[in-house]
Symmetry: C2
Subunit: 333 residues, 2 copies
DNA sequence: GCACCCTTGCAAATCGATTTGCATATCTTG
DNA sequence: CAAGATATGCAAATCGATTTGCAAGGGTGC
């Protein structure tokens, strides 16, 4: 065969109508044992599987969801994607994974494309788009789970990590070791995790009674290269901080590159801490002190919340799932 | 609105028939300028986008492909996935990414599921399934690009890396440094890259006139943990090799863990080399000597080949794209 | 033996977009 | 100005599965 068999062919083969085949397979209406077995035999012989596109059109359910991330190349996202995948697969769902690069236009386009594809739901970590804008694109009925943005909880279910918790712990740790001159390198401004973490950083510094120096706050793309560039910028300042916290581990690794290039010892000359605790953080040298972001739990929570929203419908109460973060003290700070 | 608008609603709004809207949008039949503009205005006002599910059912083209990988958590795959994504997006395609864990049942199920979803094509790195079996599942018409398996080129387009090239170079390098006792830790047996690489290893040893010791050949899952386990096993042998080549970088990193745990210095006591050259390879300490597997080029080649196959149809000549690999000599060997 | 119910099966409508066949309106051209 | 060509629009069929409404066959009870 050059094309999968249709229900009509199964019906013909079994000598019944397509209706009966459908009922026999779905069990929505009784079908005599004899007929059912005959149909079953035909199904197996022809290797029939219902066409999900047709099914999706009729039932308005595609068993498909969208996972929108900034860049799958950042190891944090595969970890999320993997547990999302594992939860979904059990229920027969599959995911489109789309990279948006955190770009507002890409984010919106991706949302529109996914809507046009009738996905049953969307999981997204917005970088440049507010939850309200997202909602306005996908319409009020689309199940939507947003990673890590407390704002807009009325427009979407939320899975948020308590970034402030880990960052406070981190600042206490740094201050406890005598660090008073601490910089922060965040991601690009917008609606991404960098903003949340920067805000938490400001709070945390205040909590340990340290001043915030605006000239020690920088922003750069969430990549190793971005970190290297911002790191060089930071370390080239006339007054240079003694510690740098970064919005994610990739930036921190880039800053380590910059520190090495500037012949600075880590952590003696410059302490560096990251955020996420990606696998690599434990592998670099010196091993990166960072805040653990439980990617697998985030993914699992997102997928579970989304599936629940899909089955419960839009009137079910909003879900807000908060996950803890914690400092992982290693060698870089 | 609680649901996207349909072509019928656009037609009603513009005061024409759905047919005319379709023709106006596709340009397959002339539509007077006035009508066309009126339709365009309605489209924009209602924010109409054609329903891809309906379109897919009618046209038998979903603008969707499947990317089947063993485990998206292995950094090699995100690198491939990213360039696949970038090529596809330009042409309005999106990808399901499915993890198979290299398990034969999962691989087959995934193929069947993707077939049922009418994807326009499949990119897969098979681990336990032959190309022939894959072809028998998806049928003769499905565009299929396989990563790295020379066998079965009559059943699918191929993107293969010349693993033997890098491995020969590596053995020459190792032998040149005086290593004569070299082990190989491969992946699970089946149809995956480990088999190809192990075969190349045997050839390469012979080429540098070194004997192959069967007790220095082991197999383990393609993960860091797998590498750690096999590494411990290997290093606990009465006669222990002086160098270990691994089927991928993750295994190599696990072997480094094992070496450290056994208080062995790398590379002095035990040289370790990996395969893939994932980002992390350059970050671990000591920096991992490995064979570069050009993931981005692989992804790009896969996506390009698949799109071409989709547009050219199944009678177009088979594509076999070979990409070079090369030794990246760093510190671990 | 009649009425009623339950089981089982089918025809037809539906989801939304595309496309073919047909019909009308407009335009050329000799 | 007649006739053929061209432009433009619509109704209906189609893709494949689901589901509703209808009907026939079989069985039961009184």
């Amino acid at each position: 065969m050059t094309k999968p068999f249709s229900i009509a062919e199964v019906a013909a083969d079994a000598g019944v109508s397509p209706t009966t085949v459908s009922h026999a397979l779905s069990g929505k209406r009784a079908v005599s044992k004899a007929t059912r077995e005959r149909i079953q035999a035909s199904v197996e012989r022809l290797n029939y599987r219902p066409n999900m596109v047709a099914k999706g059109l009729r039932s308005q359910r595609t068993n498909t969801i969208a996972l929108l991330v900034a860049d799958i190349t950042n190891p944090y996202y595969p970890a999320v994607a993997r547990s999302v995948h594992d939860v979904l697969t059990k229920d027969g769902y599959f995911a489109f994974i789309v990279n948006t690069d955190g770009d507002p236009t890409s984010e919106r386009n991706a949302l529109r494309e996914m809507l046009a594809r009738s996905v049953d739901g969307v999981i997204m970590q917005p970088m440049s788009t507010t939850v309200e804008e997202m909602r306005s694109i996908v319409g009020p009925a689309m199940p939507l789970v947003v990673i890590g943005d407390k704002k807009g909880a009325q427009d979407a279910d939320q899975v948020l990590t308590d970034d402030a918790m880990g960052i406070h712990e981190c600042m206490r740790y740094l201050a406890g070791k005598g660090n008073t001159e601490i910089a922060f390198i965040s991601g690009p401004p917008g609606n991404g995790p960098g903003d949340t973490r920067l805000a938490a950083f400001r709070d945390a510094l205040a909590a340990v009674k340290l001043p915030v120096r605006e000239d020690w706050i920088d922003r750069t793309p969430y990549t190793r290269d971005g970190g290297a560039v911002a790191g060089m910028r930071m370390l080239a300042r006339a007054e240079r901080p003694r510690a740098i916290m970064c919005a994610n581990d990739l930036i921190a690794i880039g800053v380590m590159d910059a520190a090495r290039a500037a012949n600075l010892r880590i952590p003696d000359d410059i302490a560096i801490v990251g955020f996420d605790n990606i696998e690599t953080a434990d592998l670099v040298s010196p091993r990166l002190t960072t805040v653990d972001n439980p990617a697998a739990s985030v993914g699992e929570a997102c997928a579970t919340a989304l599936l629940r929203r899909i089955t419960d419908g839009r009137d079910a109460p909003h879900q807000v799932i908060a996950l803890p973060t914690k400092l992982i003290a290693r060698e870089s700070a």
